[in-house]
């Protein structure tokens, strides 16, 4: 078959390119937003994902760290340590505040962990773990002009920076580590933990279940489940915003593809009349317009994916706090959205070509 649709579309290369670029811009918007969001949710659960704990114990009913307050008596730690399958148990305290430094403010999780115990920074790129009145901050805090030995204000008191960790800063916030006792004093919560980290010597699911059965007033989750819950709560908080942005991208793409195809159809009405006169039926002209639409969006999608990966690489180099992660689900959504845009965008052009009278071929062009 002669590839009429493609030939006609590419006759005016500038218009075809503009169409592809327009749809690609809309898709890049959606993909990048999705990528930033996916990166952020991944960063949000970084503490949990990199924790040595297999099971997390929280106050009964509390399923997340973010947007939650969990209070568990420290006394239950010893009780848990006695349970079968429990290799170790460590309490942590958790709060949030803003770091105050001369260069500005930065929202931060504040994690208190036992000196010499687990639950602290997994990687120390510089310095040492915090002692009394000290904290470990993320190395990206360098952007705030903080260095080892500097003083930082958080939770209403001043702390000296003893070490730098990494990977704990997202577009939303960062994390700092202090000792359990210091944070308990600042919070005024003696004998209280926020969460208890559990290392298991057996199946984590079974250990979680046995803790929940043995200790009153607590909930348990494996690391994977706790991480998923954490990402889920962040996603739920941002769903409306994402939907609005996706809708905006969809509408921009729709407008572009609709206009491009409509302009292409308008400029080729006589050709369409000729094709109909020669014997191209309704199905044939529909296929012609749909093929042009699909060509435009598929090319635009490929371009958008490449550009989004490019943006991710540039962002990673320029702003390490922002992680752009293009997930398969996001690509699938963009693909479905693009096809949907093509499907809706062709409606008006289709109606136009259906109405072209083949007898117009007998009208003079000059």
């Amino acid at each position: 078959m002669v590839p009429v649709a493609r030939r006609i579309l590419l006759t005016d290369r500038r218009r075809a390119l503009l169409g592809v670029a327009g749809v690609a811009v809309a898709l890049v918007m959606a993909l990048t937003l999705d990528g930033v969001f996916a990166g952020t949710t991944r960063q949000v659960s970084h503490y949990i994902d990199t924790s040595p704990a297999d099971v997390f114990v929280s106050q009964e009913g509390v399923r997340t760290i973010h947007m939650a307050l969990s209070v568990v008596p420290v006394a239950v730690v010893d009780q848990i340590r006695e349970l079968p399958g429990v290799a170790w148990a460590e309490p942590i305290l958790f709060s949030s505040d803003a770091l105050r430094v001369p260069a500005g403010r930065r929202p931060s999780y504040v994690i208190g962990f036992p000196r010499g115990g687990r639950g602290g920074p997994q990687t120390l790129v510089e310095g040492r773990e915090p002692g009394t009145g000290e904290m470990v901050i993320d190395d990206s805090a360098a952007a705030l002009d903080i260095a080892l030995g500097d003083e930082v204000e958080v939770m209403g008191r001043t702390w000296r920076v003893s070490g730098l960790t990494t990977g704990m800063t997202s577009i939303v916030n960062t994390s700092v580590y202090v000792t359990f006792d210091d944070l308990a004093t600042v919070l005024g919560w003696p004998d209280t933990a926020s969460y208890i980290l559990i290392g298991s010597s057996g199946d984590p699911e079974a250990v979680a279940a046995s803790i929940e059965a043995a200790v009153l007033g607590v909930s348990t989750q494996t690391r994977q489940r706790f991480s998923a819950e954490e990402r889920s709560v962040v996603k739920e908080m941002s769903t409306d915003l994402l939907n609005i942005m996706s809708l905006a991208a969809f509408l921009v793409g729709l407008a572009v593809i609709g206009l491009v195809l409509y302009a292409a159809v308008l400029s080729r009405l006589r050709d369409i009349g000729v094709m109909k006169a020669l014997g191209l039926g309704r199905l044939g002209v529909s296929r012609l317009v749909l093929t042009q639409a699909l060509w435009t969006v598929v090319t635009a999608l490929a371009l958008a994916v490449a550009v989004t990966f490019g943006i991710g690489a540039i962002v990673a180099a320029l702003a390490p706090d922002i992680d752009v992660v293009v997930e398969a689900a996001s690509l699938l959504r963009a693909g479905v959205g693009a096809v949907l845009v093509a499907g809706v965008g062709v409606i008006i052009p289709l109606i136009k070509v259906w109405r072209v009278d083949p007898a117009t071929v007998f009208r003079r062009t000059s």
Binding site: R270, L278, L280, D357, F362
Partner: protein, 278 residues
Amino acid sequence: MSTTALAARQLDKTFGEGPTEVHAVHGVDLEIQAGEVVLIMGPSGSGKTTLLSMLGAMLRPTSGEIVVDGNNITVIPESRLPKLRATTFGFVFQDFNLLGALTALENVEFAINLGGVTGRHARKRAEELLTRLGLADRLSFRPDQLSGGEKQRVAIARALANQPPVILADEPTANLDSKIGHDIARLLRRIATEDKRAVVMVSHDIRLKDVADRILWLEDGAFRELHTMATDPICGMSVDPKSAPHLQIDGEIVYFCSTACRDEYATAGSNGTSHRPA
């Protein structure tokens, strides 16, 4: 023995209704044999294009029937008309109407595709047709790279794409110079004779009379007897004495296609110049 390729019986076409009603074609009877070239002439607005559109299954008549190869195409459902047009008719237009995005070869191949043949067979047949019409070295040229005569030959090759029994040509020589126009006219004649196709031409070009087996005069939507027609001495057009502007000179009535030709004739006479048409 001659075979009827196309027949129209009591063909009527009315546009609008009530006070805006226009009878574009009425009471047209027509029978064209395979291998015959019929030239339909007539003044502008006489219904030629409407008639051609109906004969080519692009416009449904208000009443009457059109029979092609024994089938009454006026009762065929709308959805089947495109396929019928692709396989039964070949069209040649004044403006050539080639698809500008396609090469000469693709223009013909596309028409063959519409007839249901695809792939190598379609391409080979398109090459053969264009070669037959002397365009073997123009296969990959786009229409804007071809001369007027070459474009019309591509259009004729396209019209022959699916070996239709009927070729409908709308002013096929109007956009061509005299020599090329004559070549195209002879080509259409040859196609009719050699391939036994019926060729219906609608034209103002009196040179096409040379290749036509029959000339029909359409005026006000109906055929008139050509032998009763008069010739405008200025432009050479055939005109109907019943309705044409005229002048009486030395006891003889001279008929014109329009008042403009009549005035020109009268002015030329008063200046002592010749009344003979150029």
